[in-house]
Assembly symmetry: D2
Homo-oligomer: 342 residues x 4
């Protein structure tokens, strides 16, 4: 099949392009630039991809004519408008941006400082959290955010099984700089970032409402959670260190059973009691590795999840959604080599 990709020049877009080129069910990837009016040589703007493709001008009719589906790997706020003709036409879209993830227009506006899509359109969007839902039969899939993925996967077994006091949740999330994208900023200037740790968007990160929206689907008592983000002096990877108080009668076995039940059949999530994953063990792969432990002294549960923010946190999960949408095996196109040595 032919697929379209809008936004190849961004970090997620270029990784997604590499995955699609190697996907056995994809015959051709057509590239589109939403801000272009004429074709542009990919080699000129991204020589590192070693490809002769052109990035074509953006035209919804052309995209729908020449492809069976389209990926948007554009910045937040862009797909709100761009997606409309595709939604109207029930044309399959997988959207890596945040525009259609939140069901509440007010919440979107508050956290993204932008106007949300209309409720009618929002209602057609499916939140593609691949380990808990399927995109089969969906036409508009909102691919989850990177911090959201790592945090939700860490907390899901505990929230779904009501094992914790939901008001006690604390998430100390850390990300490499590729999460901040290609744009030059003071925060990601090498001389400043190197040998440093910097908090940013404290209590204001736009993935907070996304996490809460999902957790509340599982337990309506979950309030807004305490969530901080720290920028790491490394390029790829997210570690979400999560803490929550176990309910008073919860035992180690209850916790273990919840994680085993939830993830033992999952292709890409591995949860292990008492063994905390190193960030690098998932970099270059689509895995989410989780370690958890009930501290018998504090009766708090520590859950640490790690993902590659550009794979399981973006392009990799987008391929999972693509596989679900079109009925391919879950691991198709995702048998990736980790960045060894660890």
């Amino acid at each position: 099949m032919n697929v379209g990709l809008v936004g190849v020049t961004g970090y997620s877009g270029s990784v997604l392009f590499e995955l699609l080129l190697r996907h056995p069910n994809v015959d051709q990837v057509n590239l589109y630039g939403h801000a272009q009016t004429e074709a542009q040589s990919l080699e000129t703007v991204m020589p590192q991809l070693r490809r002769r493709d052109n990035i074509l001008p953006y035209n919804p009719a052309d995209i729908m004519k020449n492809n069976q589906m389209v990926f948007f790997a554009t910045s937040a706020g862009v797909t709100t408008e761009l997606a409309k003709p595709f939604i109207d036409a029930n044309f399959p879209v997988i959207d890596l941006a945040g525009d259609y993830r939140l069901k509440s227009r007010d919440v979107y506006k508050k956290w993204y400082k932008k106007e949300a899509p209309s409720t009618e359109y929002l209602n057609k969007s499916h939140y593609g959290l691949t380990d808990f839902t399927s995109s089969k039969g969906e036409t508009y899939v909102s691919n989850p955010g990177c911090y959201a993925t790592s945090t939700i996967l860490a907390l899901a077994p505990l929230v779904q099984n009501h094992l914790i006091d939901p008001t006690s949740i604390v998430v100390d999330a850390k990300s490499g700089t590729s999460g901040a994208g290609k744009k030059l900023t003071q925060l990601t200037h090498f001389s400043q970032t190197n040998e440093n740790l910097q908090l940013y968007k404290v209590n204001q990160h736009q993935h907070i409402p996304e996490i809460v929206q999902q957790l509340q689907e599982w337990d309506e008592n979950v309030p807004y959670i305490q969530f901080t983000t720290t920028l790491l002096p490394l390029t790829r990877g997210i570690m979400a260190s999560c803490y929550a108080k176990a309910k008073s009668d919860v035992t180690e076995k209850d916790v273990r059973d919840a994680f085993v039940r939830t993830y033992s059949d999952d292709t890409f999530v591995n949860a292990t009691e008492g063994v905390f994953p190193a960030l690098k063990q998932v970099v270059g792969t689509n895995f989410c590795d989780i370690g958890y432990q009930l501290n018998p002294v504090t009766h708090q549960i520590v859950i640490v999840s790690v993902i590659d923010n550009l794979l399981k946190g973006a392009a990799g999960q987008a391929i999972q959604n693509f596989n679900q949408m079109f009925g391919f095996e879950p691991e198709t196109g995702l048998n990736l080599i980790p960045v060894l040595p660890i």
Copy 2:
């Protein structure tokens, strides 16, 4: 005055040596190696120090004869024995190791897996947390641990003023590799550590009881706290990200007042509401910078403190204790240049 230093070859010891060489009240630093039976050239083992000194064989009588005080920068477990003749003689000691920090022999044994000093000796040791006590008049000063310093300074205003639910404390502490010392380990092998984050000693770090001991002096209701340690891919610095629930009637003003009252006259601790410090801004200095904020949504307080683990977390605080012990001005010998650019 002349001072002795045992353990110059370790990371803390070598930084302490550099500070002492520049301290205006120190005439001479005599070096001793506790495992040596004959003098050794410092240049041979540590050419980077560019010094011609000898490391002399360890002999308590000689040390007491030729110096007015002595620093121990040796590994945990070593000073338990080494310190005895000095304690017996009431000879001034500043001990950077953990052996004499904990008042309970059982607690020491449990966390350090070693035999503790006798109660009689422990009682003579003063815990030199310089921002809250003075070592003036003390003869045996136990210099606080690096994680302990950063965590206690972050939590002190809240615990002392009973503003938080003490059972809700969560500390997510991160350290550079110099905290792990000079010893070659898998955890600190460059190919493994680089571009990575790794948790270690989860719920088992020996600074946990040290922190709790101090917090309980201020509020006996503080239980064992939730405390994790993560190894960072950088050399110097600790960030302690602390979380605690504010008591229900506590306001932003209460929190601010507590920090202002506690630290406004402190030479080396700076606390700012709503501005979270970057790790690198204290590296190379003896400062502890703290940012704090009451999250109005979660009613949790986030407190982030940063220190240079080898300075405020070791050798710098040792100099503070030295200044207190001998009546020098607090900042003497500690007017250090940060590792610019930040």
Copy 3:
């Protein structure tokens, strides 16, 4: 087909294993440990590989019975002995170690400080520099060293075409720490390596005679070259910055023509005039990218080549040799995703 792999626990071995698992012509990879007497679970020693295989005890007869060929990814000096039964049996071997690369026993002994294999065995070894020779029909292939590959590929067009004064060659080669392997050493301790550059084995690196041996095949006037190695604070990649004086009548066009002629049909080597490659653009891939420029002022030619030391410099080139040996297409199993973003 089934292939054997001896030495999966090393860095090159584990990367090679990952490549072989994804090679479309490989049905099964059987692992062997040359120092083992009983089977060992791979998961125990290398959990990051997420595999249930066993590492089997080393037994040449078993290896030959159960596989159509075998890879050795063992340390220098080990295959000298291990390879004998395979050579005697004319069983196909690809050897990633240096033991059989040098044709002169004396040169091997001088640079490796070990006894070389016998001349009889050495004569059966083919130096598998894939871009200039083919391993088709060979049974014992010595896979080139990482520094040797990057340096020889950079200099080949100039030496083969006699465009430079061979006595003027200077190579300033730099490598990430994975080239130093898994062994814990002071040189690769994170606190020492990070934010540092360190020269090592100055004028003594064992790849020097390997480079010279190959260059002399092309031009017998090439003497021992000036070659230094510097350890970089990064994990993967080699950059070889090479300098040589152009002969007085050599023009820019002569240089360009030589590179174009040599590499325009090469699958994995890309040479560009006046554009110098960034190291990271080849990391995660089997490419060797080369930039070159004749400086009109100094009449020196600067040639900079970059490779991933574990791929084109080890496991990737081993796959190339495997493809040549068995008649598979050159890029089979080597369509790898770079470690984006660059």
Copy 4:
């Protein structure tokens, strides 16, 4: 005495400010911003300096009235104009920029792509290479460039003593990112720079003519040298790896004697035969450490020098010039602690 400083907000300027604050002969440092028309709070723009000073508007008359000398730490091209009134008034200036370093206006224009100062003004400028000249009695001192300092110090003993073929010189220089300054660029974006090596300004670096100008003062036969610059994934430090062919009758002893004669009495330069310095051993200090070795096989001499680009390569050498200008001891204000551990 009071000193003025123009350009505290740049990397060199802020380091220079820290040094001046601790210099025992400096009573007050007055800050000036050349692009300002009103006073600005230093705390606002550079909170990491923890100072309450104001940056005052730029006014030559005020600067001369309130200070005994002035430092310029401004970008290339700025002091060409700014310096005029000070030169006219014979007021002492130490200029860290490149504007007045080159004696030839044409050479300046060619390499800097800017108009040079007039010959009259250029003639009043003294090139302050502190290890070979003295700024005593000078009023306008051009502080050498960072690459120039490291390269000239490495080559000086060989060039001065005519031990090498000057046409054979090759310099492979590497620098950390702080050398590229505070400006946000693609080249210094963390996600691009990290785990990478990148060449830049190949054969075009503006320090080339500066190096050649100085070497030609010692040996008029030195032509333009082969010189490349590579950006390192670290913040501070330069390593200049230099290569040159020894003249045919030159012995190891000749080389050693030249280095010993040249540097044995030098306060800040240490040269050692056969021991190559690690970059980090000078970071945080004003030292230049040099290792050298005559390779008996190639008869090439390898000389490797390391400096901290912001200290010996900028602000530290500026303090040396200041000490020379006003007759203070060479090491005054420069007894700095290295960034341990190494």
